[in-house]
Amino acid sequence: MPKVFYTQPGGEVKVVDGAVGDSVMATAVKNGVKGIVGQCGGTLSCATCHVYLDPAEAGRFPEPGEDEDDMLECTSSDRADTSRLSCQLLLAEGADDLHVTVPETQV
């Protein structure tokens, strides 16, 4: 099982065991990680699951699709090079541990 390390803006880290096929958003929400809301449940409707990927791990995921890319331009906390909507980041079989940082705000 891949572990996901969620770092809060203040530096506090929560580690969650992810399930293969779950998204980084769902893994956070189901385990009460602060700052990842995921209100729409992962249908690209709310952009409340913005995270910053660890630059060394960003290449593990396919590039954002058009809707995600558009939405990242309008997130509440500014977009960075490694910004993603975490509902679009699926944990793959045999994946290594993943490190993401939660932004200051989601709405």
Partner: protein, 423 residues
């Protein structure tokens, strides 16, 4: 009724019970813990499942793209970690106020006493008085059990959806995508009459027709026809009969107010609450689809949405802890219908003008902006998630420009809205 501050949260209660364990109830419990509450929290649900997400039931679940596990709102271990007690698969038969708390009688006969009560009882699907509608293949959709029944019927033959509201339209689009022959029967002259403006309703109507769904407006059903082999069709007031193996009733929901009634709480199409989510006794908290609340502009309204459940849960948690209710952002909603993504921010009631923005390069992207005089009050965004976010952010920051500033469809809303920042 006056509210005694001393009994309303200055000293947090040692135990709190939430009747209902869906989006509102679970968020309330989590918020209390996040705010440092260390008392007992108990969630009671009549459904025999761990708390789950409802919005996917008409979409991903029906399509087979979700599992019971993926629907869960939280991992089972989360409730243990947070010391949240779950009583699931058991209804509440009776609630009674005592001098210093509330006694709950469960449907299985057990009774429990708590210091504080939160009603998050939700809403039940409305069943119109239509001959034949009691047949088991006439379905509604609010709960996972309903969704299971519906999923088992999609391949059974033609489906008729009665009611052109969000749930009916989402199911119609999903069933159609799965290959079912689908007819939507709406009594009113247009779709989504209470939820969106005419322009958006018309675009969605065309989209459903393009999906191959038969859309009948201003059409009143008179009877669901069935024989010993099952449902056969829906008879219309003009005598026509539409073949159907399955009928979905999508004609709205009634707030569940039975328990509120036992407590003598004021109800009018929902449990009446204020912005702190206090009911008329100034003590009981009520949140989510079961409530009706005052808008800042006056008047009462009821919002059935995840956003409302979450915001009211947060407000109720603050009230219980004796803190002021957090500032509430503009309400928002979403609905995915086939390849149409609708996102709404704000409430369009009372608008005096509408401006439609259509992306000249991508005509699927349409945004209807609603203004009251010179102030933006709501927007309906079709297939325009970036515009929706720009609008939601603008609302959150108090930027509400007038129609003149937002009319040029060649300039992205994000740019127009950031240009409209008061200096």
């Amino acid at each position: 009724m006056t509210v005694d501050q001393d009994t309303c949260g200055a000293r947090p209660p040692r135990s709190v019970v939430v009747v209902g364990a869906s989006h509102a109830g679970v968020q309330f419990a989590d918020r209390l813990r996040a705010e440092g509450y260390r008392g007992e929290i108990t969630l009671v649900s009549h459904e025999p499942y761990l708390p789950y997400q409802r919005p996917p039931l008409s979409k991903a679940w029906l399509k087979g793209a979700a599992t019971e596990e993926s629907l869960l709102l939280r991992d089972p271990g989360h409730y243990r970690d947070q010391d949240i007690e779950l009583l699931i698969g058991v209804g509440v038969a009776r609630v009674e106020r005592t001098g210093d708390g509330v006694v709950i009688r469960l449907a299985d006969g057990r009774t429990r006493r708590f210091d504080r009560l939160v009603l998050a009882t939700g809403a039940a699907a409305r069943r119109p008085r239509l001959p034949g509608s009691e047949h088991p293949d006439v379905l509604v959709l609010r709960e996972l059990d309903h969704a299971k029944s519906l999923a088992g019927r999609v391949a059974a033959g033609p489906m008729v959806v009665i009611g052109g509201g969000f749930i009916g339209l989402e199911v119609a689009a999903t069933a159609r995508a799965l290959g079912a022959e689908v007819t939507v029967v709406e009594a009113g002259p247009r779709l989504l009459a209470r939820a969106v403006g005419e322009e958006t309703a018309r675009t969605l109507l065309e989209a459903h027709r393009a999906m191959g769904t038969e859309m009948l407006l201003a059409t009143v059903p008179s009877e669901i026809v069935h024989d010993e082999s099952g449902v056969r069709g829906v008879r219309l007031a003009d005598g026509r009969e539409i073949p159907a193996a399955t009928v979905l009733l999508g004609v709205g929901a009634e707030p569940r107010t039975e328990l509120a009634g036992q407590l003598g709480l004021a109800c009018a199409d929902g449990i009446i609450v204020d912005e702190r989510c206090l009911a008329s006794d100034g003590w009981t908290l009520a949140i989510g689809d079961c409530t009706v609340h005052h808008s800042p502009a006056g008047g009462r309204y009821r919002l059935e949405s995840v956003d409302n459940a979450v915001e009211q849960a947060n407000a109720a948690a603050a009230t219980l802890l004796g803190a002021p209710a957090p500032e509430r952002p503009a309400p928002w909603f979403w609905s995915d219908q086939g390849d149409q993504k609708l996102q709404i921010v704000g409430l369009m009631g009372g608008h005096t003008a509408m401006r439609l923005r259509v992306d000249p390069d991508r005509p699927r992207r349409r945004v209807a902006l609603y203004f009251a005089e010179d102030t933006l009050i709501a927007a309906e965004c079709l297939n325009s998630p970036a515009d929706f976010l720009a609008l939601r952010t603008a609302f959150a920051r108090g930027r509400r420009p007038g129609p003149a500033e937002l009319s040029d469809p060649g300039v992205p809303l994000k740019k127009l809205l950031s240009a409209a920042v008061p200096s």
